[in-house]
Symmetry: C2
């Protein structure tokens, strides 16, 4: 093999992987948006086969030889191609360490577990989900060894979602959060609550749809390359940097639910739309890690979207959409209402202040589950105890407790911490951004383009060219959770008149 | 290889082919429905790769050996598996006769030609499309030889869309149509025209959407397994017999356009929904031929949907949807309006009577193009002359003439006759159905289930298990175009008070 041939094969391999991923994404998207109700079987068959073909292609001896050849010619590769080889090597090693039968068995398990979890959640029946969850945990422990046998199992899993992340770092991170934030939560719990009843008036879905279009315009999303759809759970899906979809979910009696879903998913989408298009059909495309992705979505959602300057900028327009519902409401009232903080049961509905305590509960449980010091059967009891301890709330049933999230049913252990890390990264990015450019002047005028340009330059455009840690470093500086906790303390004590 | 192994491999092969087709369909569906405007590039890359992988899989030596092995064990196979082997053999032989480079070149050509045709149609610029069309015709002539070198080239192409169809049969068919129908068209052209102005009032799209749902209910479509979407050109797409999508296109100033699109596509969908689910993941799934498919869609659209008993049955409900627009209009007025016959320029907007003359123009041109007696550059002149001769209309420009249809840009030569054949098959099926069951009693009450049950039993359930000719034979008896022309003569002479 000569280098030219190898480079061509590398491009072909990555294009094929792109095609399989694109196909699976299109089937998934169809399934959760427009597909008729009883049609999952056919999609399941097709998705299973596509996954199998992708796996076979990726883990083939030929792919292994190609990667090895390119590694031997490392010095002759461009930085982009060298990075592709590094990333492909990692995935190749992982995949080829998982025996094919285990891989297939696991794929079937997650497929079934997802159904079982749905039913268990509906009926609040943890015992129904328990056998599947036990198998999933056992698989994850095994997989952790395949991923990196030199690490503690949970560290190996964390590393999959946020490369370089460890329990040591997270313990420090979360203990800082707990120490700094629990007193704030207590203090505002005793202060008079803010009025947010007007957010629960009747907001016709048809007008909310138009409002979403307006929000996407304010975010500066290019509608020739992005759309919004509707699904039970909002998400962002990227085919390429030129084709990104977000979804939201409308409730007629909740204005802020969809509003902040759109801004949150819009943040994910702006990241994907900002990746260098040269990476569209190779493994450098797409956001670099879950943590960095959440830093972008939560940046737009909370740091911009729930800021007073932003709300002042858009509020006249919000009132145009909903004049009756918001009669007598000021921008300041609106700002307070969308920032109301209150310990609650459901993570996805939590406010900015208490959110990361929800994440911490899941982190503690996962750490013990994978570490072997907690059994699956004891999850509900532990969950409820931790919610009482961190958030002071009583969990009435598992539907509102340990069955609320889909992640574990999909085999995602080690993912949750990304949500809290992303929030913390975001605040550090904001502080650095404020050093570099005028953030709040433009935002006060409803112009988010300088913000997006800064993030594109420091984060988006790189796709997966750099390690997540390096992206974080160049956008945030040294990681320091107190920047995040200081921000939350300051915002919430002011908002509740305690500072 | 033992038989058990071969049967397992056969099932796997067909499941993989199903997965590739499903993936491509999902990408296509996304592209024409919800995808953002400027996103075709990524889908194009993915679709190209998936088609290449499918081709590679299908035309591999291993597939050839598998088919040959099963042919040697023909006696030991079930009827279903034996038929699968026959169908796979046909496709395999065709595919393996097309050199891989030609196949790729052709795939790229049709991809580009589709874009060029769109632009050419928009600007009514035949010369823009001409070079691509010349290449397409040249490819088709070559492919005809790969398909079946023992046949005249155009017969080989016809055989692809309606197995067993030949120019001899079609010449006879079309000459009967011309002879019988042209006088009817002349006669009603001299009779007083029917009033259909009320169909062009303002019909809000939002209400038309609800009307479509009603029509799908009347058709008896199972909404857990079928949906309706919106696209520029209506179509039906089947993933499996359990998952079928139709689309329509709404115009606010045209009630009957979408109404009859829904019923037409609904007919295609009922066919697909009626195929034996045992064929879902193998090559027996789906409708058997274009002609038989059109027989079903045009059956529901015209023979049922444009019949007086059906219109009497649904008209009270139609008036509930559009009380103001249809004030003072009776079921009989509505019946006449949706059956108004008038020679026109555009095939897809043509009435039931003149429709097949549009098809005949295309048949004559294709026959000569592939036969070598007509050059591409002379298409516009020939087209316009034939429209004048058969329909008596002057074609003002190529946009309203030979550039109106997408088929040729997609490489489909030999497809058009299926439309006319399907219409003729349908009438013969109706005559047989009337012998077997009470058709019009239930239809007068808005109940189409006996009709659908009959068609399912004679046509739908077989999928591709039988040859199209055998399906036609068992549902229609011997093919006799005068059954069709008698039906049209009778219907239209009565409708225009000439009988």
């Amino acid at each position: 093999m000569d280098l030219q041939t190898a480079l061509r094969q590398l491009e072909e391999l990555q294009q094929k992987l792109f095609a399989f991923r694109t196909a699976s994404s299109a089937l998934y998207l169809d399934g959760v948006t427009v597909a008729p109700r009883d049609t999952s079987e056919g999609r399941g068959v097709a998705l299973g086969i596509l996954a199998g073909e992708e796996h076979k292609l990726f883990s083939s001896a030929q792919t292994g030889e190609l990667i090895a050849f390119l590694e031997q010619h490392k010095e002759e590769l461009t930085a982009e191609v060298a990075r592709q080889v590094v990333l492909l090597r990692r995935s190749y090693d992982q995949l080829s360490r998982i025996p094919a039968e285990e891989y297939m068995e696991y794929a079937q398990l997650t497929n079934q577990a997802s159904d079982v979890w749905h039913r268990a959640k509906e009926t609040s029946d943890f015992e129904l989900f328990r056998p599947a969850l036990e198998k999933l945990v056992a698989f994850q422990k095994k997989f952790a060894g395949y991923y990196d046998s030199t690490k503690a199992p949970y560290d190996a899993l964390l590393n999959e979602y946020e490369r370089g992340m460890t329990m040591d770092k997270l313990d420090l991170f979360f203990s800082t959060l707990r120490e700094k934030l629990v007193p704030v939560i207590r203090a505002i719990g005793e202060a008079p609550q803010v009025e947010d009843g007007f957010l629960r008036k009747t907001y016709p879905v048809e007008i909310q749809r138009k409002f979403s279009d307006y929000l996407m315009d304010v975010l500066g999303m290019d509608r020739a390359h992005s759309t919004i759809g509707e699904t039970e759970h909002p998400f962002t899906l990227n085919f390429t940097s030129q084709d990104v979809r977000i979804t939201t979910n409308y409730s007629e009696t909740d204005l802020s639910g969809s509003m902040y879903s759109v801004i949150h998913e819009g943040g994910h989408a702006l990241y994907e739309l900002g990746v260098d298009p040269a990476y569209d059909y190779n493994c450098l495309g797409g956001g670099v890690s879950m943590g960095v992705h959440e830093s972008q979505s939560r940046f737009y959602e909370n740091l911009i979207g729930r800021s007073l300057p932003f709300i002042r900028a858009i509020f006249p327009k919000v009132r145009e959409f909903f004049p009756q519902q918001l009669e007598g409401v000021t921008a300041e009232d609106f700002y307070k209402a969308v920032n109301k903080a209150q310990p609650s049961l459901i993570r996805t509905e939590a406010d900015e202040l208490t959110y990361c305590l929800h994440v911490m509960v899941r982190y503690e449980i996962e750490k013990q589950l994978i570490g072997g010091t907690l059994e699956v059967k004891d999850i509900p009891r532990t969950w409820n105890a931790l919610y009482k301890e961190y958030l002071g709330v009583d969990v009435p049933d598992d539907k509102h407790g340990c069955l609320q999230d889909s992640h574990w049913s999909g085999g995602m252990f080690g993912y949750f911490p990304s949500y809290a890390l992303g929030s913390a990264y975001g605040v550090q990015m904001l502080r650095n951004m404020e050093q570099d450019i005028d953030v709040w002047g433009p935002v006060s005028g409803g112009d988010l383009s300088p913000v997006t340009a800064w993030l594109k330059d420091k984060v988006h455009k790189y796709g997966c060219l750099l390690e997540p840690g390096d992206i974080v470093k160049q956008a945030c500086g040294d990681f320091d959770p107190t920047v995040y906790t200081d921000y939350l303390q300051d915002k919430y004590l002011r908002l509740y008149g305690l500072k």
